[in-house]
Amino acid sequence: MRLRILEHGHRPWQRALLGLIRPLVGFVPGPALVMSYRGALFGKHFTACMQEGLCRGRYWSRGELELFAAFVSHKSSCTF
């Protein structure tokens, strides 16, 4: 069950952008909705953490980091 705010609560420019994703993918992935809704509360800061942790990794390659993330997601029964 999705909260209605995640389907209809975004700002107009966000709805337009999300509207471009829907016909391409068939739906808008949940994480995209969560990250973009009230971005100043969560998405903005979480994106910054991901960028630092995954994209600027020093000891592991990007591929290795994404493998770790995929493994953890699998263990958490998460498809993302």
């Binding site: 909260l3 609560g9 509360l41 020093r58």
Partner: protein, 117 residues
Amino acid sequence: MTKRSNTFLERVDRLRDSVLRGPGRAAPELRQAVARRSARHGAAEGATSDGVPPELEAFVDTVARCAYRITDAHVAGLLAAGYSEDEVFEITLAAALGAGDVRLERGLAALGRDREP
């Protein structure tokens, strides 16, 4: 601790401050209590009252321990209890953050590091 690690932890701190103390529909005290209870589950300390209202306990515990088991009924129950959709959104974030925080601490501990610079 490398400068890069400090930058990551600083960003985590900003995320935590925003979700638990920033402007929101749910009271900051409630969001912090939810995060504490969720973190205690992850730390296997056992949940305590933590100031989390009874109608939220099952939801927070499920998010903390097995979020993939959250169902429509869980969310509908919170809405029926009088929480707004934005409050449910914020409470969910707080519970996920609490659970994630303890995992981060365990990972850092495994590396022989802690959160302090």
